[in-house]
């Protein structure tokens, strides 16, 4: 059903296109600024690093989440005609196309996030009043990164269903907010981005158990895979 050659060739082409995207260039600029500010602030403030970074990560996460959603949703909603004329009329299945698109976009999101947050977290911890643990800092970066990948996957899925990008982004944001409220209310915090963000200071300090952190990672990995499957199914049904 899926051709590795096609996925690899399409993935490489997508990566090249992404490096030329102004959205990604802007995102990289934002990530650099978002990484430098907490480092500077860590040297000047009396707060513990866990509290400081917990706050900064929320500020960093909200615009990044919107960017991830736009980045994901635009891949199919805006490129549908190009996809049809350029690729789907060749030796490419729809699965090949969605997998190539989604995996390259998820990889780019993860890369930008890790490149920005790992230096931010470790240098801030070094220069501020350090109450963090190495595992806690790494898990914080991975968990927030996985949430962004999840938003990208949901974005790709929504973009495969809705042709209007703005509407797709609004739907994603509403859905994620609703999901956070529902799972927060049900106390299934692993699936609630709001709860996970609120608990970041504890994660940074190492106050949460490895199993709790893994559960969050697994939950968002599973949700991302569900988003990917949804995107593939929606794209499979689409007519061009």
């Amino acid at each position: 059903m899926m051709s590795r050659t096609a996925v690899r060739a399409l993935g490489q082409a997508e990566m090249t296109a992404i490096t030329r995207s102004w959205l990604v260039r802007g995102w990289c600029g934002f990530a650099v600024i978002a990484a430098i500010l907490p480092m500077l602030s860590a040297t000047a403030q009396d707060d513990n690093v866990s509290t400081l970074l917990g706050g900064w990560l929320i500020i960093y996460f909200i615009p990044s989440a919107i960017l991830a959603a736009v980045f994901g949703a635009s891949t199919i909603s805006q490129d549908a005609e190009i996809a049809a004329d350029s690729f789907l009329t060749r030796a490419v299945t729809r699965w090949d196309y969605v997998v190539a698109k989604l995996s390259s976009r998820a990889a780019v999101v993860a890369l930008i996030h890790l490149c920005a947050t790992i230096p931010m977290l470790f240098l801030s911890a070094r220069w501020g009043l350090n109450d963090s643990t190495t595992v806690g800092l790494l898990m914080t970066s991975f968990i927030t990164g996985m949430m962004l990948v999840f938003l990208t996957a949901v974005g790709v899925c929504t973009g495969a269903v809705l042709r209007n990008l703005a509407l797709a982004v609004v739907v994603i944001m509403c859905a994620v907010a609703a999901e956070g409220l529902i799972f927060g209310f049900l106390e299934i915090k692993e699936f609630s981005p709001t709860s996970v963000l609120n608990e970041l200071p504890e994660t940074i300090r190492g106050d949460t158990t490895t199993w709790q952190e893994l559960r969050v990672l697994l939950a968002f990995t599973a949700a991302s895979l569900a988003g990917a499957a949804g995107a593939a199914l929606a794209f499979q049904r689409r007519e061009f």
Binding site: L10, A13, T16, I82, D85, S86, L88, V92, T93, E239
Partner: protein, 328 residues
């Protein structure tokens, strides 16, 4: 030989209804033999693009099936599409890529190695006159350049079947002539299916035609046969000079049924059974004797258009009659 080896395309009851509201294609049985240049003609909105999109697997039939090169076409038939070169109408390609990047990618997707793809890209860019734009972004291309790039992409792996949707749209007269010449050349070795509403293009390149009208295939067969149905014995001459004496002589000419002068065109309807070559010879002699300048002779350049319009008219009448008989 069975159908699989002789037929490039075979559709059975191929139907497309969009959103339970629009019947884009009524049940259609279309057959295209291998090695022919087949023209799918019809006015805008007739269903040509919808039919092509089902033939390449971009759309699923609501009913019926399309067999291409002996296999059923579906969106997942990637292996089958490797054997087909498709040119969409008004194609859209990745605007930030250069033609080299895009064609290389299409080559790799078609199963060529990087080296083979690069060789083909170089040849096709030269043949399709895109060498000067090889390093430019596709987004900056004119419509004609995009069409030529689409043609190059469809030829990248030398497929056995070409399906080109409106290949001459957006091209200037020189570009159009180049494309029709290319179709004729490609048609010597492979099956080519083109859609167009430019009847002159069909006349120049096609062996067989299918006529789609309002989502129905109302004719399918040889072009010669379609023309024969409307063969007329009218000669149209464009003349310069004083034609009065010629008209007087023509009035008594037993080989012509009627003369109609509408300056500068003279339409002469020959009598049934009149020997065409001899009659024309006689006519040209009279024109020379009257010192008239013959600017052009036309004996059926509009045949294609006439055939097309007549078939549409027949279909319209047929549809009305069938509607009436159904009512009664």
């Amino acid at each position: 030989m069975n159908d699989t080896t002789t037929l490039a395309i075979e559709t059975r009851g191929l139907t497309k209804i969009f959103q339970d509201r629009v019947v884009a294609l009524s049940p259609t049985d279309l057959v295209v033999r291998r090695g022919t240049v087949f023209g799918l003609i019809g006015p805008n909105g007739a269903g040509k693009t919808t039919a092509f999109r089902m033939l390449i697997g971009l759309q699923r039939p609501t009913a019926g099936e399309a067999r291409v090169l002996g296999e059923v076409m579906t969106p997942d038939a990637a292996g089958l599409r490797k054997r087909i070169g498709y040119l969409p109408t008004g194609p859209r390609f990745p605007p930030s890529s250069t033609p080299i990047e895009y064609l290389r990618l299409v080559g790799e997707l078609s199963g060529l190695s990087r080296r083979q793809a690069d060789e083909r890209v170089a040849v096709l860019l030269r043949d399709l006159d895109l060498l000067n734009a090889a390093g430019n972004r596709i987004g900056s291309f004119s419509t004609g350049m995009v069409t030529r790039l689409g043609i190059a992409a469809s030829l990248i792996n030398d497929p056995e079947l070409l399906i080109w949707d409106e290949p001459t749209s957006g091209l200037d007269p020189v570009g159009r002539r180049q494309v029709t010449d290319l179709i004729r050349f490609l048609g010597k070795k492979r099956t080519v299916v083109v859609s167009t509403h430019v009847l002159g293009d069909v006349d120049r390149v096609c062996d067989e035609v299918g006529l789609l009208y309002r989502g129905r295939l109302i004719y399918s067969g040889s072009l010669a046969d379609m023309k024969r149905r409307v063969q007329s014995n009218v000669v149209e001459l464009e003349l310069d000079g004083d034609v009065e004496r010629l008209l007087q002589r023509g009035a008594n000419w037993e080989l012509a049924a009627s003369w109609e002068w509408n300056a500068p065109l003279l339409n002469i309807t020959l009598r049934e059974g009149a020997p065409v070559a001899a009659t024309l010879g006689h006519l040209f002699t009279m024109i020379a004797e009257e010192n008239l300048t013959l600017l052009s002779v036309n004996m059926g350049s509009d045949q294609m258009e006439d055939a097309f319009l007549r078939r549409l008219e027949e279909d319209r009448r047929g549809a009305i009659l069938s509607d009436w008989s159904a009512t009664e």
